[in-house]
């Protein structure tokens, strides 16, 4: 049974020292209860309290960190099976696999393209998270050289793929102190790989193609070597096995508090896919269903953009409405005579109205007001979408400079604001639009003369 904030608070020093970054001990305790902060963030915790709290508050899935501090990838530490129960915290890392026997320049080109890739979505830049270098050549020196080549083009975290401890050691010499993931310890090489992980302070992947029993046994063995940061490869590759196995691992960790499998999972969608699209689809499934690191075999913008979008969607906090940037959005190519419409910056509201304007073939100026991500009615009820706010947006975004008319359409659900808005915007005529976005095309057709 998880502890409540109040129960945790009782163990804290109650000094409100703020060293944890929170204003009071109680505020900190509440965050610990929600498992968004680790109890060890409190520097003044007594040893007994710490022991008592850690036992109760230990994350069921270990947080694993790859890479250096400036470019690190954190995976794991998930607390729920379904995103609506709370949220998914650490988006799976998307890493691109390159082979050490590829010609040096083509390898560097691949790395550079993927490393430099970024795409903007709802005000955020989405990027790839790292590279997996595979020891395809089976040669230690080639492997090490390839790692060097990758590092010369990117400082993103690495996964080193080799079954050969000697090759791994050579590669690690080039890759550390960047905390690469060692992939992988298997039933034959686990001891040496584990030693390498301990020696280089790196996370270690553990791989087994058999039943979860074998994987569990292997994890037990490497844990005994003192390795805490482990990544699992249960060997499941295709759509069906991946879904079943990853679900089972997540359930064991969360519901049964089964420690040996309480680690993030690494997947290789390309190994079960006959085409690029299938690889992307499988990767998309793994984004939703429980992968911690996804190793892609191909990179192209058209392939990665939808995948990154999928990851953004699934890892959005479902309890916090997603916001779009308050601004004037041009729908189509608006002219000085085009309609000016007002909306809120709740993403779904915005998508709905923007989509309907576009679908109805209207070029328009869409004024997106800052309602802290609330929809029209909710924002209105919360006082975040009132006449003053709307007027402020109309003025601040200087929409008057863009249009020759002075007509503005407000959502039908806030018709009550019309009077006040007339006061706030004396130069403007306030038109009350339809209540539902889907009717906006018809409304403009009837009420707007270009």
């Amino acid at each position: 049974m998880a502890l409540t904030g109040i129960e945790i608070y009782k163990f804290l020093p109650k000094t409100n020292c703020k060293k944890c970054g929170f204003p009071t001990c109680l505020a900190f305790a509440m965050k610990v209860a929600q498992k968004t902060v680790n109890i060890t963030t409190c520097p003044d915790l007594s040893a007994e309290s710490r022991a008592a709290l850690e036992a109760a508050g230990r994350p069921p899935i270990q947080l694993v960190t790859l890479g250096s501090d400036s470019k690190k990838l954190e995976v794991g530490n998930e607390t729920v099976m379904f995103r609506h129960e709370k949220t998914f915290f650490h988006p799976p890392g998307l890493v691109l696999r390159v082979k050490d026997n590829a010609p040096a320049d083509s390898l560097q080109q691949q790395v550079q393209a993927a490393a430099e890739y970024k795409v903007e979505r709802v005000g955020r830049f989405l990027t790839m998270d790292g590279f997996a270098v595979e020891n395809t050549s089976k040669d230690a020196a080639t492997f090490a050289k390839a790692v060097e080549a990758v590092k010369s083009k990117s400082d993103l975290p690495l996964v080193l793929i080799s079954q050969d401890p000697a090759a791994m050691e050579a590669a690690l010499a080039k890759a550390t102190p960047g905390r690469p993931l060692i992939y992988a310890a298997n039933k034959d090489n686990w001891e040496k790989m584990a030693d390498l992980a301990v020696k280089n302070k790196c996370p270690l992947a553990v791989s087994s193609n058999g039943a979860l029993d074998d994987l569990t046994a292997l994890v037990d063995q490497v844990s005994k070597k003192g390795i805490e940061e482990i990544v699992l490869d249960p060997g499941a590759r295709d759509f069906g096995p991946s879904l079943s196995t990853l679900t089972q691992i997540r359930r064991l960790a969360l519901k049964k508090n089964f420690r040996p499998l309480g680690y993030p999972v690494i997947t290789f969608p390309g190994e079960a896919a006959a085409s690029l699209d299938t690889e992307a689809m499988l990767a998309a499934q793994q984004v939703a269903k429980y992968a911690g690191i996804i190793v892609l075999d191909h990179f192209s913008p058209a392939l990665v953009y939808p995948l990154l979008t999928m990851r953004l969607n699934i890892y959005t906090d479902p309890q916090k409405p997603i916001q779009v940037t308050p601004q004037i959005v041009q729908i189509g190519t608006p002219k000085a005579t085009s309609p000016v419409c007002i909306t809120t910056n709740f993403s779904l509201t915005y998508f709905a109205i923007a989509g309907e304007l576009e679908a109805a073939g209207w070029a328009a100026w869409l004024v997106v007001c800052d309602t802290e991500g609330l929809s029209v009615l909710t924002a209105w009820a919360a006082g975040k979408f009132d006449a003053e706010k709307i007027a402020k947006s109309v003025k601040n975004f200087k929409i008057a400079d863009n249009v020759s008319h002075r007509n503005v359409v407000i959502p039908g659900h806030v018709a009550v604001l019309r009077g006040e808005l007339e006061e706030e915007l004396p130069d403007w005529k306030i038109l009350v639009g339809p209540r539902e976005a889907v009717d906006v095309g018809g409304f403009l057709k009837q009420n707007w003369k270009n």
Binding site: T278, M281, A284, K289, P306, T309
Partner: protein, 314 residues
């Protein structure tokens, strides 16, 4: 140490809904599972999700180039289009009576009768008939469509809270399945099912459309509402247990990412691949959230999504 595979004991199951199977139409059954999507290790999944292809009753306006290219001339003729869709492997046809929209032709019951009859004659697959999404026109053309397809167990939609009595009664009278659509909200979805049940429509004559948000355009909302609906159904709530249908094609192909040919960031990549993948990923996401029928547009999406379903169901 042997690991005990954790199995959830669910009390409920998704209703089985039959489409077609009479009047010379092939039978398609969806639903019936008593576990989460594709988790065969813990439950019984008697029917795999079905793939529908969307057909529109008039040449679609503003469709993206890759779609127009893929379908070619059949876009002019819904019957030929449906036939082609069957060749591409559709399990069923979703016919949208777009021309009945007041601003896109405003055709009426007579036209609806003709188009529906033509499509029914062209294919022996089960057929879903959807109105133009204007409640009053929906009532007009769907009642007509219902009569034409009487006894052939079509799907009829959209059945909304505004017009559920009309559509529900029509389904009852002619033996069809209502496509009950609600705006991304679990309670509203459940409420509509209750209202339809009050009308006398059995739960095995309902498919829930939770409203699809495309990838990047609210997918996560649909995804979570579907997971919640499904979990509640498996926990034993009959009123959330009808199978779910998602219009992945229609929603993803509406978006800028699918339509834009130029003037977009280079990081978006090549249009055709991006657009089709947008639809494929929307589809695979929703299938994992519990979609029992997925309505698609591009033939290549149909091919890959079917393959993925087969692998997930193997």
């Amino acid at each position: 140490m042997p690991v005990e595979i954790p199995v959830e004991k669910w009390n409920g199951q998704v209703h089985q809904v039959k489409l077609g199977g009479a009047g010379g139409r092939k039978e398609l059954v969806v639903g019936g599972e008593n576990t989460l999507p594709f988790l065969k290790f813990e439950g019984n999944i008697p029917h795999r999700p079905a793939v529908a292809i969307e057909v529109v009753d008039q040449p679609p306006q503003g469709w993206a180039e890759p779609l127009v290219k893929a379908w070619g001339n059949v876009l002019q003729d819904p019957a030929a289009w449906a036939k082609k869709a069957a060749e591409y492997g559709a399990d069923l046809i979703s016919l949208r009576l777009r021309s009945a929209h007041p601003e896109e032709g405003n055709t009426g019951a007579d036209h609806a009768r003709k188009v529906v009859a033509a499509v029914l004659a062209a294919v022996d697959l089960p057929v879903i008939v959807l109105g133009p999404e204007v409640a009053q026109k929906d009532n007009e053309v769907l009642v007509a469509a219902s009569e034409v397809g009487r006894g052939q167990r079509l799907g009829l939609g959209d059945c909304l809270d505004k017009n559920y009595r009309t559509i529900g009664a029509t389904c009852l009278a002619d033996g069809h399945v209502a496509i009950a659509k609600t705006p991304i909200d679990m309670n509203l979805a459940k409420q509509l099912n209750i209202l339809l049940s009050d009308l006398g429509l059995p739960l095995d004559a309902i498919l829930m459309d939770p409203t699809t948000g495309a990838l990047g355009y609210g997918l996560e909302y649909t995804y979570s509402v579907m997971e919640r609906l499904r979990i509640t159904a498996l926990m034993g709530d009959k009123m959330t247990s009808p199978p779910m249908i998602c219009t992945a094609g229609e929603e993803s192909w509406r978006q800028k990412e699918s339509k834009a040919t130029a003037g977009v960031p280079q990081s978006w990549g090549e249009q055709e691949q991006r657009a089709i993948l947008w639809e494929k990923i929307t589809a695979i996401g929703l299938l994992n959230a519990g979609a029992n029928v997925i309505v698609l547009r591009h033939p290549r999406t149909v091919e890959d999504v079917k393959a993925a379903i087969n692998k997930l169901s193997a």
